[in-house]
Subunit: 473 residues, 2 copies
């Protein structure tokens, strides 16, 4: 049994109750009832009769992007009537429940059982319109203005912009290339507790392929952070858009071999266990999304957590987003149902190989072009890597830059743009606590997701040239 | 020029600023730039190569539901590459801007110019994931806990459940079959003003085919309410899901003629002007949705209002919903682009004819089956109509029901369910101000949208039988 954590709910969601109007739905199943209750248009008025998609057939051993050929093309058509591999359009294009379409939820539950062994039974999955919205709902469900939350020292700016205007204060968790440093987190919380101040409500973390740092937490760190959250009664929001972009180790180009395609079981075994997997208390809410693995435009994600907590999310969702697009649900489910669980895992494995190749190319180029005043951090997951600098070692740090790391960072950023490349300054992601000064260790975030390897190489060559110019090398 | 109404913004949105990270987007257009900035997956990694839909070809003079035949079938396929009638999948399935896809926005701007003559220039349209979410955003943009809003005396419960847990207090606007009664609104506001209390921030209204009452405001009432809002500096949220379900007048079955299909110009002329059309101040935010006219599952709507106000909505949306589903946008736009502006208006006219037929059938049945202790209210728009009772006229009101109108309402509700029909009690929608007692005039809401005319007749026959039983007739 998960713990009762309702004392952590916000004033807003404590005030939310299921609509009385929803109670009529139970009567809809009565045989031959003349149901004049709900304002649902007849499916015969829907503007569309069929929807179709073309995708590719598993296995995806050849990797991605696979060209579509006559032999690997997979086409399907969804009609208004039911079909075992489809959400019929009479349902998909009708008003839905905030939980999401049953068929898709069943698929995701099976998927979750394969990937995460959740140590309690009373958990649930609900769909969302993507993890940005899921995170917005997390703030609404748990936080009142004046509450504090813990975020990683460098965090995706949109995640902060979601939370902070809602009146929460951010405290930071120090991190390195392996993510949150548990000892420093424990120390901070012990200090807050002994001061008598209110403890943070949430830990927000992107444990795998973190944006912007590219860091990934090994299992031991997750376990340590979980135990701390449990000790201090804090909810963990595990935001994992890049979870399935866990890559093969980086090895030198000369030692690189063609990736081997493994079984689903071996693929699953190769994934670092999630916070969900450790969640004996039921204090983890995991956010997943199809954005990074199928397409961002699906605006389709899901949350996993204990039923009593997700019920509160449903109350927020039924009066805001309602349910994801039926076009998205129909096309995503139609694809996944035809691929099967193994086909989806196979697709994810093909993505791993592709992103491993892109990461390898990026690191090859970075090591080649970037002078040794910088350190290249090699990620083992996700879409991002960083190149960092100790600004105090720049010969003119005190003079030209007036000992201001951000002045030097700005010079590098602008010089890189002059050379026609763009990497994002790390300070844009840096979360400062009250009175804290920016770090003298600066970094730039680059992605290997959005370009081909030729552009990637060109970009890092130009960045390298900018560094040389700024350092006078 | 619209008025500067920024003093009406909430604390939350005053604290929202555009993300620094978004500033990099401007560099993306630089020729040959090696852009390693944003974590967007390559379109070649998207799981879908094409999406297709089957719909019907205008004109829709034959009415709805039209069977799809070889001659009226319209099929189209969207690929990753651009096409003038499509949002290419390389864009539709990628991350988008919170405003929505340009092609769809352009279409909606043209549509808006045809339907509403907005009296100022600096207005804008942004997409949403449907009007429930739009309304949720309205509360976030304008209201702080402790603020008050004005809602119709009977209001869609979900709309209240969206607002109230966010800490706002609802005051009510008295209404009749022609919607809000301006004189009573003015009186209430004058009283608040003279008491020195804080004035309401918003008027929330469904002016056309209101849910649950089925009432529609004629132009004069809209004008009067607008002037009051202007006088007391209140924002009007005009929520118009049923705007295009403005029906022909109800006439007796014997006098009914086949509906005539008119030109787009005549159709537009037949629509009651919107609040947007009166909006000299820029204080109206109009909510539109495709849910009632194309399909609810599209989860695609839009808002129209002055640019400076909608900019605040964009800041809320980019950190929550982001943008509607690309599947929805691609399919909806692909359809509308092929239909053209006139084709869409033609579809809306066909819907009018269909709902007029359904409304007529419902009223015929109600007048036939429901005894004269009840009053049948004939709507001129939307999906709902009501049947009302003066509970004080029930012979056993004081004795059996202890002078409690809700006890009599409950008896009717349950007796109707026993007879295997369901209509929704009006008290479920009644908004009571502090200390106010439920009205002794009760009503039941029925819809003619969700069933065919045979079920509709059966339902009203059973409701009539329940009334007779409860009244001892």
């Amino acid at each position: 049994m998960p713990l009762d954590l309702s004392h952590l709910f916000s004033t807003e969601v404590k005030a939310r109750s299921p609509s009385k109007l929803k109670t009529i739905a139970s009567h809809r199943a009565t045989p031959d009832i003349a149901f004049l209750g709900g304002g649902l248009p007849l499916p015969s008025y829907f503007a569309w009769d069929t929807l179709s998609a073309t995708t590719r057939k598993p296995p995806f051993e050849g990797g991605l992007p696979a060209s579509v050929t006559a032999s690997n093309e997979l086409s399907f058509t969804v009609t208004k009537e039911s079909d075992e591999l489809d959400i019929p359009l009479s349902k998909a294009l009708q008003y839905g429940t905030p939980k999401g379409p049953t068929q898709l939820l069943d698929y995701l539950v099976e998927h979750t059982n394969k990937i995460h062994s959740i140590p309690y039974n009373d958990w649930e999955i609900i769909t969302t319109v993507g993890s940005t919205q899921s995170w917005d709902s997390c703030i609404r469900v748990f936080c009142d203005p004046g509450d504090t939350i813990l975020v990683e020292k460098y965090a995706f700016t949109s995640a902060l912009e979601t939370a902070v205007p809602q009146g929460v204060t951010t405290l930071t968790m120090e991190m390195d290339d392996s993510g949150i440093i548990p000892e420093m987190l424990e120390e901070k919380l012990a200090k807050i507790k002994s001061s008598g101040a209110k403890l943070p409500k949430l830990i927000y973390t992107v444990p795998t392929g973190q944006n912007p740092t590219g860091s990934s937490m090994p299992f031991e760190r997750r376990k340590a952070v979980y135990d701390i959250a449990s000790k201090y009664d804090i909810i963990i929001i595990e935001d994992e858009p890049y979870y399935f972009l866990q890559l093969d180790q980086y090895v030198k180009a000369s030692e690189r071999t063609k990736p081997t395609h493994v079984s689903s079981e071996e693929f699953i075994k190769s994934l670092v266990p999630s916070f969900l997997n450790l969640d004996v208390d039921g204090r983890v809410v995991r956010l997943d999304s199809f954005s990074k693995v199928l397409a961002p435009g699906s605006r389709l994600g899901w949350m996993t957590g204990q039923t009593a907590i997700l019920e509160r999310f449903l109350r927020v969702h039924e009066t805001s987003i309602q349910t994801p697009s039926g076009f998205s649900s129909a096309m995503v489910y139609g694809t996944l149902a035809r691929w099967g669980q193994d086909g989806f895992l196979d697709w994810l494995q093909a993505l791993r190989h592709e992103y491993t190749y892109k990461r390898d190319s990026a690191i090859d180029s970075a090591l080649k072009h970037v002078p040794s005043v910088a350190e290249v951090h090699i990620p083992i997951a996700g879409m991002f890597f960083t190149i960092s600098f100790d600004t105090t070692k720049h010969p003119e740090f005190k003079t030209k830059y007036n000992s201001d790391p951000l002045a030097l960072e700005k010079d590098i950023y602008e010089t890189t743009i002059q050379k026609n490349a763009l990497l994002v300054p790390g300070s844009w992601f840096e979360v400062l606590e009250e009175g804290e000064k920016p770090s003298t260790n600066i970094f730039f975030r680059a992605t290997y997701a959005a370009t081909n390897v030729e552009v990637l190489d060109k970009g890092l060559e130009r960045f390298g040239a900018a560094i040389k110019q700024v350092w006078g090398l």
